[in-house]
Subunit: 458 residues, 2 copies
Amino acid sequence: MSMNLSPTLETHKHVLIRALAVKDQALLDERLPEIRSADLAEILDQLIEDDDLATALALFACLPIERKASVFGHIPSDGQERLSASIGDGDLVRILDRMGSDERADVFKLFDDDRKEALLRRMAHREREALKRLASYEEGTAGALMTSDYVAIPSGLTVAQAIMRVRQTAPDAETVYQIYVIDNQGCLIGTMSLRQLMVARPQALIDDLMIHDVIKIGVEAEQEEVARVVARYDLLALPVIDAEQRLIGIVTHDDAMDVVETEATEDIHKGMSIGQLKDGVSRVPLWSLYRKRVTWLVLLVFGNLFSGAGIAYFEDTIAAQVSLVFFLPLLIGSGGNAGAQAATLMVRGMATGDVGVKDWGKLLGRELLVAGSLGLTMALAVAPIGVMRGGDAIAIVVAISMVSIVLFGSLLGMCLPFVLNRLGWDPATASAPLVTTLIDASGVIIYFSIATAVLAGI
Amino acid sequence: MSMNLSPTLETHKHVLIRALAVKDQALLDERLPEIRSADLAEILDQLIEDDDLATALALFACLPIERKASVFGHIPSDGQERLSASIGDGDLVRILDRMGSDERADVFKLFDDDRKEALLRRMAHREREALKRLASYEEGTAGALMTSDYVAIPSGLTVAQAIMRVRQTAPDAETVYQIYVIDNQGCLIGTMSLRQLMVARPQALIDDLMIHDVIKIGVEAEQEEVARVVARYDLLALPVIDAEQRLIGIVTHDDAMDVVETEATEDIHKGMSIGQLKDGVSRVPLWSLYRKRVTWLVLLVFGNLFSGAGIAYFEDTIAAQVSLVFFLPLLIGSGGNAGAQAATLMVRGMATGDVGVKDWGKLLGRELLVAGSLGLTMALAVAPIGVMRGGDAIAIVVAISMVSIVLFGSLLGMCLPFVLNRLGWDPATASAPLVTTLIDASGVIIYFSIATAVLAGI
């Protein structure tokens, strides 16, 4: 959600606020239904962000109950938390009641135990149990993502009977376009699309038409895996089963799409050694932003000390040829850049499934060729400057160092994600800051070792 | 697509290859239907990758024509190109004929003009025109993403008539779950979901029930925008209109989801100054990988020369206090890391819509506070080492420099994406390598200026 509304939404917002101020109920009744729920949620969220909770509540109060549920579901959790604090238990239960079961569980998790108890007491027994169960799954798993509002029919129905069931369930189900068939134990035994149902003979048996080999996922599966399966098989919804193969929910395509975006943001942040943020950078508390950035920054300070130690070790070589220092940032910087590129290509390839652990050998060969060419190109670019600033000997040292450091850096960057993966770590820990710090230290040693060797030989 | 098959697919592949070798048609007929099209496509693609085109063709030949179309659509474009080179025009047209119109257009773009002509000659007039039109849209736009297989009905039908239309169109349409209503000119005037249709009275008029304010997008819109609209409003499909408001296609949820993943990969690569790759890192040609990486690496070599020049300029200060060099990598490295973090947070925030240009002021304030705290923390971490290695004066210089460089680097990293955006550039050009190179050069100057000032004062 943006802190900036689009011009259209900005106009809507001003009209609504004015209408509220002059108590023009007719204008409110005309305008509010025209604004889509996702957009109205954004307007409310911005009002809450700007600490104008009173206006947000007044606008929210104008909505019919179904609309309240739909709009509330689109508000980010931060805003939901602040808004619901000013809504009575009775009203809140009526709103929750009309939300999808997955959204309801997400909202429910925001409350403290007292409020949870108070809300649960007002719910019907069946809903209470369903909510408790959905809210119990760990964040980031299929269980936390799924909804329990799906169409499941028993084995043995005809097409006509199944269509009747779909009609009855239509108002509540998250999607009616995929129907799941379960046996007496609640186990998933088949699936059929509404499209297939509609073109089938009404007297035909579902069991004769359905697909038996259903694509499904376990409730403990990670959300990346859920999104990958949905994308790979172009699914509208992915059924979720428990350890006993019982159907307990579905993850719909829109929720899977949100996961792809969230995971990408997480990976991009990890690539710069930034921890997982709970919200957008413009909304997350400052203290949390500090904490998510500081850990690796401080760790890398100590990593960088090795580069300093390397420089100190070669003090004699440097004193003999001060012009060597001129090329230091350039050489270690170039190695760091090439290495960070190589690491990023591998980490993203592993995240999207393009690169597997077994590809390591082939990719190493490819990286050798590419990095070698990159090093040579950069050496050619820098050699003339070497001649100008320090003469032929320096130019030779700088050119050889460039090839060596770029090659070493690229191979290090390429291999690190595989090594981390082997050790059971997240390959994305091979972030640009970590890779460049490692290459800085190694680059200092490589450069001055070559310099010492070449210059001693002259 | 992975170069590594999962163990299940590996087993399938071996069984299939063995069955082919011993000409066991019965086994092939039993196994092939059990493998999902996406999975079979991956097996074929791996065979093609491994230059075993003959086996891939033999397996492909065993499939019924409908299955051929579905499997072929799942093969990456590289593999499609190589496979189709060995398929006759007649067979290829029959396969293309059964593919979705969007996939067909993508395949068609792979061929040279001669083959395009030959294929077009074998198609029916109407299909030929549709294909030419779809293949003409620029890559990365709504037009290139859309399919022309949707359900459009004229204004004035009853619910029962509309359901009949859906039944008739079901075998060909990409999705039948959203129905679009058009007027005499072909303009989009309303939409209705199949779910709503199914629960409505059969005699009711569509025009009375449909939503008039349809969420739609122009054919020229960028694919990021398409994906954002689909995600924001949780759509199954997004209708695409031309300049005259005529409905010309729809983009389905699964294609929008693929865009989110592709765009994320592109952004992650851009964050390391890697150009846009046409395929996964394990598949893209080496020459292309070299080209996409070398441009910025060489440009940054020259950027890094400024750091060298800075060092040369302060040669006297360095000569007087050689221990200063010990802290150089650490200071500019830390500034670079903090700056790259800040830039990445902004670039990703802008890409997901969380951060807008107008937020600049507020975010600058936040970054000042966070970066200040980060700088102080890192200064505290490094000060004791300053005392140990060079005494109190050096410790003071290093601590002040750390705060200054981290603060300056973070603000530079944060502001650069906004400045680039203002200049009409892609904010993602503010990559980690560019930001760290800029901060390296500035860091050298900040550090040695502070050192010169403080040490001269002693």
